[in-house]
């Protein structure tokens, strides 16, 4: 169960980096699939809350104990606390970006897709830091 949720979490997180990159690359050409991919990205960002929530609420408490007892307590107190809340804004950001594509303001959506890429990548890196923190 944990592995399935973890893989779903990682794959969906990577999609929130890869799909917006594709969207940005083709934003000017406006291919037929642009709106479909934008919608899919926003949908994935909402669905990602399910494995994220399951990992955080069910499986993270054990990791938290290890992190807090180790030499990197900030990995929980700062990194995890920030990560868990930043993650809540991912679907909002993705929905704004997709909404702009759907309302023919594709040019205005650029910075929102860029923010989604940067934030998703940062959240991934933060997850890695927390994992290392559990072993310290």
């Amino acid at each position: 169960m944990r592995d399935f949720v973890l893989f779903a979490h990682i794959i969906a997180g990577l999609a929130l980096i890869a799909f917006p990159i594709l969207i940005l690359l083709y934003l000017k050409k406006k291919p037929k699939w642009l709106k479909a991919l934008s919608f899919a990205t926003a949908a994935i960002s909402w669905l990602l809350l399910l494995p994220s929530g399951k990992l955080y609420i069910t499986f993270y408490p054990a990791t938290k104990t290890l992190v807090k007892a180790g030499s990197w307590p900030w990995a929980h107190d700062v990194i995890m606390e920030t990560k868990e809340h930043w993650g809540l804004l991912l679907p909002i950001i993705a929905t704004v970006a997709a909404g702009l594509v759907f309302t023919n303001k594709a040019k205005d959506s650029k910075k929102w897709w860029a923010l989604l890429i940067i934030l998703s990548a940062l959240i991934g890196i933060m997850g890695r830091i927390i994992k290392i923190g559990a072993l310290k």
Partner: protein, 96 residues
């Protein structure tokens, strides 16, 4: 007539999340209220900011600005502000 204002919905969510994070950390009974109502404070925050996004995006669908600020700029800076304030808040809490 616009059907939904994504910008103002996002701005409302960003502001609300920032307020919820700070209050929940500083006022224990509020965090307990979120836990008691939604089973977990994180779920409570997720539900509340999603609700704010939908409600404000719909109610303010014909607004192009709030005061002197255009809706797009307000949303963008609210979102960046929220991300920065949340991070700094936990840094400060850790250093206290």
């Amino acid at each position: 007539m616009a059907k939904f204002n994504f910008y103002l919905g996002a701005a409302a969510s960003a502001w609300l999340l920032t307020v919820l994070v700070v209050i929940a950390e500083l006022v224990e009974p509020f965090k307990n209220f979120l836990k008691a109502t939604f089973s977990h404070h994180w779920i409570g925050k997720a539900v509340m900011i999603t609700f704010a996004f939908l409600v404000f995006g719909f109610l303010l669908r014909n607004k192009k600005s709030i005061g002197k600020f255009s809706d797009d700029k307000l949303a963008w800076y609210s979102m960046l502000g929220s991300l920065i304030v949340i991070f700094l808040f936990f840094v400060i809490e850790f250093l206290k």
